[in-house]
């Protein structure tokens, strides 16, 4: 008797909970459900995951001009977590219609069939972008998996005032950079010319690109993995030698201690990307007007190469019910002059499109002493070369953090750490079932 009553009560509670849950669920203005049912009559509704600051303001301009395609921005945390979250959502079947995709993460989205091919919709937009950037969204195939948004050609940021104080010239080659590092450290053992960051694989990838590395390539149906190629090993051994010598510091970027070193004038250079001014002005506000920018030092005198650090694109989810509308918006956002102007002003983005880069005229406040900042950046950007990213960059990048954390702490062989990255990458791709060329 008691059992029955209890069972009845349990059933009653469950039904009550479920019915409230369901009614609560349908009360929510769920973007996708609404868009599907309202598609014929009302406007198309799109959701967009991004971490660009003030993107909601930029999208508001679009929404006002396009009552038939309404975009809702949902600001996410950026970086690797964002990619993992999107992949999980895509797997579960409810991804956003549009997503911000970092170039190095795009291949993993493609491998998971999470993003749509936009070849037909972006035929016009192609002309707006340089070859190098466009290659990052086609992955060297005939398909187009995203519209490029921003790019990060690398250059050398340096403390002009302190270079004068320590009597060093702006290094033109990495040999000169090493010499300058020794000079500075000899004059003041507390001061370093630069630091090797074991937490920023994207930075190391950019420096390797500059040296001519090709970590991944596709030959026929097979992937070729060469994280340990000659160029990368050269870059790693160079920094490893300087760290071992003690003339280059080993603290990672974007940490409180790094901020403090920048503020205190204990770090004189930062080989970084075009988005550097935003970071410097926020993390080292006291040094405004004291920094300047120059091309990266070269491996051989007379050469002129750079790499990319960061940069992202706008991709459309393969499961989006409104792919065409989403592609139209992505194209507008990254090629329309008005949108580009807003991206620069509100989003602090360095646009990937040639038209957008030309809109950058007034030097950032932090670099007010260098009025030709954007001209320099554009010239350097033209010399940057990238490489094809593979489908498991996250594994390679984690291996970088693990191996170089240890190598920096022990001052051990950096080339061995590169080999560790190669081994981890190959092992993971084998396990995931990719065909590898030997």
């Amino acid at each position: 008797m008691r059992v029955n009553r209890l069972a009845l009560a349990a059933v009653a509670i469950l039904t009550a909970a479920l019915s409230t849950a369901c009614s609560g669920g349908s009360d929510e203005p769920s973007g996708e459900a609404a868009s599907q049912s309202a598609a014929p009559a009302g406007p198309v509704k799109l959701t967009y995951w991004t971490w660009v600051p003030n993107m909601d303001k930029i999208v508001a301009v679009w929404n006002q001009a396009h009552p038939d395609i309404q975009v809702t921005v949902s600001k996410q945390a950026g970086g690797d977590d964002a990619a993992a979250k999107f992949l999980t959502a895509a797997k579960a079947g409810n991804p956003p219609d549009l997503v911000q995709a970092e170039y190095q993460m795009l291949p993993s989205f493609v491998a998971a069939d999470a993003v749509a091919d936009l070849k037909a919709e972006t035929a016009q937009a192609k002309a707006e972008f340089g070859e190098g950037v466009w290659g990052l969204v086609t992955l060297g195939t005939d398909a187009v998996y995203a519209v490029p948004q921003d790019s990060g050609p690398m250059m050398l940021y340096y403390r002009k005032d302190l270079f004068e104080k320590y009597g060093i010239e702006v290094p033109k080659t990495w040999d000169e950079y090493a010499e300058a590092a020794r000079t500075v450290h000899k004059k003041d053992p507390k001061v370093f010319l630069g630091t090797f960051s074991s937490k920023d694989p994207g930075w190391f990838a950019g420096l390797s690109q500059q040296a001519g590395a090709q970590w991944w390539s596709i030959s026929g149906d097979a992937w070729r993995v060469a994280v340990n190629d000659e160029a990368t090993t050269k870059v790693a051994s160079y920094w490893g030698g300087l760290v071992k010598e003690g003339v280059i510091d080993g603290m990672p970027y974007f940490t409180p201690e790094w901020n403090k070193a920048l503020n205190d004038g204990k770090l004189l250079t930062w080989p970084s990307a075009v988005w550097g001014p935003g970071v410097l002005s926020s993390n080292a506000p006291k040094a405004a007007g004291k920094w300047a920018v120059a091309p990266l030092p070269q491996w051989n005198a007379g050469e002129n190469h750079s790499g990319f650090w960061g940069g992202s694109s706008t991709a459309v989810a393969a499961k989006s019910p409104n792919k065409a509308a989403a592609a139209t918006f992505a194209t507008w956002l990254n090629t329309d002059p008005q949108a580009l102007g807003l991206l620069i002003k509100e989003g602090a983005v360095y646009p990937a499109s040639a038209k957008g880069a030309a809109l950058m005229t007034e030097a950032p406040d932090y670099f007010s002493n260098q009025p030709d900042f954007w001209k320099q950046a554009a010239d350097i950007g033209a010399t940057a070369r990238g490489f094809t990213f593979g489908p498991n960059v996250n594994v390679t990048y984690n291996a970088y953090r693990d191996a170089f954390d240890k190598a920096v702490a022990d001052k051990s062989d950096f080339a061995a750490a590169v080999q560790g990255m190669q081994d981890a990458t190959v092992a993971d791709m084998r396990k995931s079932g990719f065909t590898l060329a030997q």
Binding site: L6, A21, W51, Q76, K260, N263, V279, S282
Partner: protein, 292 residues
């Protein structure tokens, strides 16, 4: 907590001063310093402006508290308040529902014998061993199938059923509600629901407060579940919202001073809650002393 509360009902009282008295005090003081040190850092750091944060000495108060607060409240048109309201909804609603479910289940498991009771209880004990972090992604896939991912319910529902709280409620019911009292009520003709409401519930209140506080704090601090479940930033709780300020993406500076100020503000409701809920615990201790 479960063992400590009923245990304190014992008649034997330690004499006020014993030679060993200093040692526990010392340990407690060390514990207090250990837990309060980071909190005090957050409070001091939230007074520093952007420029002072990484350049002045660690525990030197800064001058930027008001501008930090103004910046935080102005950030994306005051989205901080929305996140705070969301967190209150998740933590408050989740903790109330969880307490209700746990109390009634724990009471049932403790006071009624029915077939399968042992099995259910053992399953619950097993459930305690599974960390909720492990369940987040499977739960997300399930909620996606049900069409509930991204809704408020997707964060509330998984936190309502909490095996440890049910276990706690069972142990507490066993100790705090004497079977003879329920028998007496039955003889007087009270129905089971009335017995639970009128006899058991008042006795269970201190245990329920404990469960409520545990769950409130756990949900308030929960990061992974809402991070995975929610796509719409208008439904984020504070933990996930503040994280979007920290991981702003390559090339965008992390807004450290806003994050620290936001963290400092998000501590205040927790502290207030503990201060106000404290008296319920005290009621129990004194009540027990008088009765026995």
């Amino acid at each position: 907590m479960a063992a400590a509360l009923p245990g304190s009902r014992g008649p034997a009282r330690p004499s006020p001063r014993r030679p060993l008295g200093l040692a526990p005090t010392g340990v407690l003081v060390l514990g207090a310093i250990y837990t309060l040190f980071p909190v005090s850092w957050v409070v001091v750091a939230s007074t520093k402006s952007e420029g002072e944060l990484f350049s002045t000495s660690t525990f030197a108060p800064g001058t930027g508290l008001l501008s930090n607060l103004a910046d935080l409240f102005a950030y994306r048109d005051g989205v901080f308040w929305l996140w705070l309201l969301n967190t209150l909804l998740y933590a408050g609603g989740g903790a109330v529902l969880s307490t209700a479910v746990s109390t009634i289940s724990g009471y049932t498991l403790a006071k009624y014998s029915f077939p399968g009771r042992g099995l259910i209880f053992n399953l619950l004990i097993g459930g305690i061993l599974v960390p909720s972090v492990v369940l987040a992604i499977p739960q997300y896939l399930l909620f996606s199938k049900a069409g509930l991912a991204g809704t408020y319910w997707s964060v509330l529902l998984p936190q309502i059923l909490h095996p440890y709280s049910i276990y706690l409620a069972r142990i507490y019911s066993q100790a705090a509600v004497p079977g003879s009292l329920l028998e007496a009520g039955r003889l007087d003709g009270a129905g089971e629901w009335r017995l639970f409401q009128r006899v058991a519930l008042p006795l269970l209140t201190p245990g329920m407060v404990t469960i409520f506080l545990f769950q409130f704090v756990a949900i308030w601090n929960n990061f992974l579940l809402p991070f995975i479940m929610l796509g719409d930033d208008q439904r984020f709780p504070l933990t996930v919202g503040l994280y979007t300020l920290l991981a702003a993406g390559a090339g965008q500076p992390s807004l450290y001073n806003l994050i620290i100020t936001g963290t400092m503000l998000s501590l205040i409701p927790l502290i207030a809650l503990f201060l106000t809920m404290q008296r319920y615990w005290r009621t129990d201790l004194s009540g027990g002393a008088v009765k026995s």
